[in-house]
Subunit: 239 residues, 2 copies
Amino acid sequence: MPSPHNPLQNCLLAALPADVFQRLAPDLELVPLKLGQAIYESGGRLSHVYFPTTSIVSLLYVLADGASAEIAVVGNEGILGISLFMGGETTPSRAVVQSAGFAYRMRSRLLKEEFNRAGPMLRLLLRYTQALITLMTQTAVCNRHHTVEQQLCRWLLLSLDRLPTQSIRMTQELIANMLGVRREGVTEAAGKLQRAGLISYARGRIDVLDRPGVEKAVCECYGVVKLEFDRLLAPLPES
Amino acid sequence: MPSPHNPLQNCLLAALPADVFQRLAPDLELVPLKLGQAIYESGGRLSHVYFPTTSIVSLLYVLADGASAEIAVVGNEGILGISLFMGGETTPSRAVVQSAGFAYRMRSRLLKEEFNRAGPMLRLLLRYTQALITLMTQTAVCNRHHTVEQQLCRWLLLSLDRLPTQSIRMTQELIANMLGVRREGVTEAAGKLQRAGLISYARGRIDVLDRPGVEKAVCECYGVVKLEFDRLLAPLPES
DNA sequence: ACCCTTATGCGGGGTAACGCACATAAAAAA
DNA sequence: TTTTTTATGTGCGTTACCCCGCATAAGGGT
């Protein structure tokens, strides 16, 4: 019986040409990611990069006073550790597991070597990075102009897109940390969505009952990001 | 008498090894950038990339309802058009001239060719892009957690860092557009700073009188960004 | 069964920022 | 000059969100 885990569950790894993938495959190591685990800390060096398959990881920025905000989210469509190949080695943000699951990791040195071949891996990672930039900037705009309810919808949809189920295991408290708002604000917004029949939740679990309904309640930010990911991570062009 | 304009006024161009710069120099074209001019529009293709020398350009995101927010600012430390080499060709944001001045522009194809040599230009541009990512994410966090006054200070300091003078030509109305707040909010914050003797302003002109004072009033976001730019754009390492 | 930790519900008071309307004053245009 | 446009000042009611405290209830562990 084959393992239910496969590196190709990660879109980036799956998008690599077969010869590149074969070169890297021996070094890919399956690791479980536990809820709340910090993959890397602000300013820390990266020994590995991670390709999530069934897990979701949030990039969080934590202010000096403890307040925080999610600046991006990475699931099976992406990679953790872009600062490695961008040249900076570190970033001023934390990466925290938002949904437990698995990821394949690879030693930083190997990824860097493959990146420096300036072949498909480089092009793929840069396109992904651009999609990530769109996600980050849209988060900035959303933080400025949209209500907690709209942001919650955006967050739910972004999470759902990275999960095989319609159910998210996450407390309102943690969601509040990510959105950078109060827990009560999330309670209120979630209550409203539940009364409208769009979601159903209880103690650390949220089920999206009516996804089209949530898509109607969300701000334009979600659509912009989704479109950009689809566009940029579509089958790799020649160039 | 030599022209007062020189491509090396742009930090990125200045950081290139002499041989690379010589290869590109013939294609660098000096262009004036007028206040309010759009260098590129959301989703538009880029025929050129721009290296500002004495101008400042804002990257703005405009929502469907007309509300807007600045997501980054580019001056003589940077380049406009990163989506070109990142592989996406377009971005969902606008680039608007915030402070009139000059820039050198280069045909996109040439930059791409140089980038694809996978040499110093690639490393330099990727490091710059990472610094830009830090600026964008810090903007997201700042939007969420800090007051208009703090954000105004951040904006003033970021602008000042990219100008040779202590004086900024810009109306409160336009600053409000950038920060994504009401004009009255900027009036109030600016009035407070003026009463405190930190700045002095009148009809489209702001003078920073006491920069250390403004640095005390700003949130941590400014320092984080500044540090990261200094770190990443320091003399190019070998790698 | 029991506790006890943890997740959610709820209310009251406070504040930053919004939207709007309008006053004033400086520049630009006539 | 006069007129018009543009930039800034100001007040007022409204709203979304914050901060704090506490009530309630659902799980998990023993």
